[in-house]
């Protein structure tokens, strides 16, 4: 245990002894990590927005403005007997105008209208949730006499969800690629470290050091630089979130929302630091092991 403590201390001294090199390395790791971590944060913020929306698919059935009572009654009959429809409710044009006036930011607009432009409508929910079936249903009802158009309300929410999923996949791919890059980069940094400490390794081996003993300081070096890089990434993300929030809150307030970007949660930060330290450790481990496999002592 005391060896670990002393190795940690001497590694810190070594890092502090070359401040410029350490700063550069830590910045590179920090920037590389902040890309996927920042994207992850952005996506989880968007996912939060989208999950607060109604995903239960609804079909809005707008009647023609000149559709009479008869047409409406026929439509209602058809809706009642249709096997694929679970619920439906009627929204009269007067009611729709009232809802519009009450809704945020649009009240003034509604008040300024000379007459009610809104049609009568039915809001339907279907029994299934399958996109193809919903679309078929939408098409069917849109062709009924007296119907102006039918719209699948959830379509954009589903599109957003699909986009988020795509974004998550891209983030994951980016993260994996950058992880490989970081391991390789850290391996190279440790390789340079090894070259400057080759004598120490040689003498240690001659006096009976195991590979494990020789590896330890380099593993600390890699893990510590990874950890510092993770902290840098955290700092970059926290600062960017603060800066972006100035614009985001202004934009949100225009929509009457108090939405603001959330920062990384504590367990996300722990994960970020854990992963960055691990990647540094792994790069160092691979570099030292490779070196030891090809290193041959000669006492002359």
């Amino acid at each position: 245990m005391s060896r670990h403590w002393r190795t940690l201390m001497s590694t810190l001294r070594r890092l502090a002894g070359t401040p410029i090199a350490t700063l550069i390395t830590v910045s590179v790791i920090g920037i590389a990590l902040s890309l996927p971590a920042g994207l992850y944060l952005l996506l989880s913020n968007l996912a939060q927005v989208s999950s607060s929306l109604e995903i239960q698919p609804q079909i809005s059935l707008f009647l023609k403005l000149d559709a009479g009572r008869d047409a409406q009654r026929q439509i209602e009959q058809k809706l009642k007997s249709h096997g694929a429809i679970r619920t439906f409710r009627f929204v009269s044009r007067e009611q729709a105008l009232k809802e519009l006036s009450a809704s945020n930011g649009l009240g003034d607009l509604a008040a300024g209208l000379p007459n009610n432009p809104l049609p009568d409508a039915y809001i339907l929910t279907a029994k299934g949730n399958d996109a193809a079936l919903l679309d078929k249903l939408r098409l069917e009802v849109s062709q009924w006499p007296g119907v102006e158009s039918a719209e699948l309300d959830s379509a954009w929410a589903r599109r957003l969800n699909a986009l988020l999923e795509l974004g998550q996949q891209l983030t994951l791919m980016l993260a994996v690629l950058l992880a490989f890059g970081l391991i390789a980069g850290m391996g190279n940094i440790i390789r340079l470290q090894i070259l400057t400490r080759q004598e120490e390794i040689e003498v240690s081996k001659l006096v009976g050091a195991t590979n494990r003993f020789i590896r330890l300081p380099f593993l600390y070096h890699g893990a510590l630089q990874g950890l510092l890089g993770g902290l840098a990434a955290w700092g970059i993300i926290a600062t960017s979130t603060q800066l972006l929030n100035i614009s985001v809150t202004r934009l949100a307030s225009l929509y009457g929302s108090t939405f603001r970007l959330g920062g990384l949660a504590m367990n996300d930060v722990a994960m970020l630091l854990g992963i960055s330290a691990f990647l540094g450790w792994l790069g160092a481990y691979l570099a030292v092991s490779h070196f030891l496999r090809h290193f041959h002592l000669s006492h002359h």
């Binding site: 003498v203 001659l206 006096v207 000669s298």
Partner: protein
Amino acid sequence: MISLSQVSKRYPGGYEALKDISFTIEKGEMVFVTGHSGAGKSTLLNLIVAIEPPSSGSIIINGQNLSQLRPAAVPFLRRNFGLIFQDHKLLFDRSAFDNVMLPLEITGFDRAEAAKRVRAALDKVGLLEREKAMPIALSGGEQQRLCIARAIVHRPSILLADEPTGNLDSAYAGEILEMFKSFNQVGVTVVIVTHDEQLIERFGNRTLHFQHGRLAS
């Protein structure tokens, strides 16, 4: 105990550094190994500390047959030895004290106990006053003695010295040799590789004489 039986070492390209070498150095013996450069002395040392394997024959160190040693066991074999190098192989990024500490650090020795042993070893070679000095600030003779302190600090059963007096004047060389003799008197097996015939005559120990890779009688 070091025992070689019919040991040969051929290098790729056909050069034969050692040919059919057999000898035994008993526990507690002090032996000189001599011969011209290229006679095979260095190869012999490399084989004994398992830096390279022999092409044929067997080497037994303290009852362990090196050819049956797993690679992972080699570090533990090396802890039987105290190695003294002609070029000292000191680490210039740390003090005299820390140089001598290295073999104990490797074995995971208790730190306080290790510090005592390091000071005892430095005292034995007359460098106790210089424990904080960096090797670069030491004279050639002092560097050699520091190397000796590092070789004895973990109380090895075998001391292997490669040209320990190579760069020293003869008075100083005699002093170093007396030091080895005192280690030998407390039971350490001592093997000294040297080409200094005068020194050998003065001490009159058993001498293994190498000539073109063969052991001359």
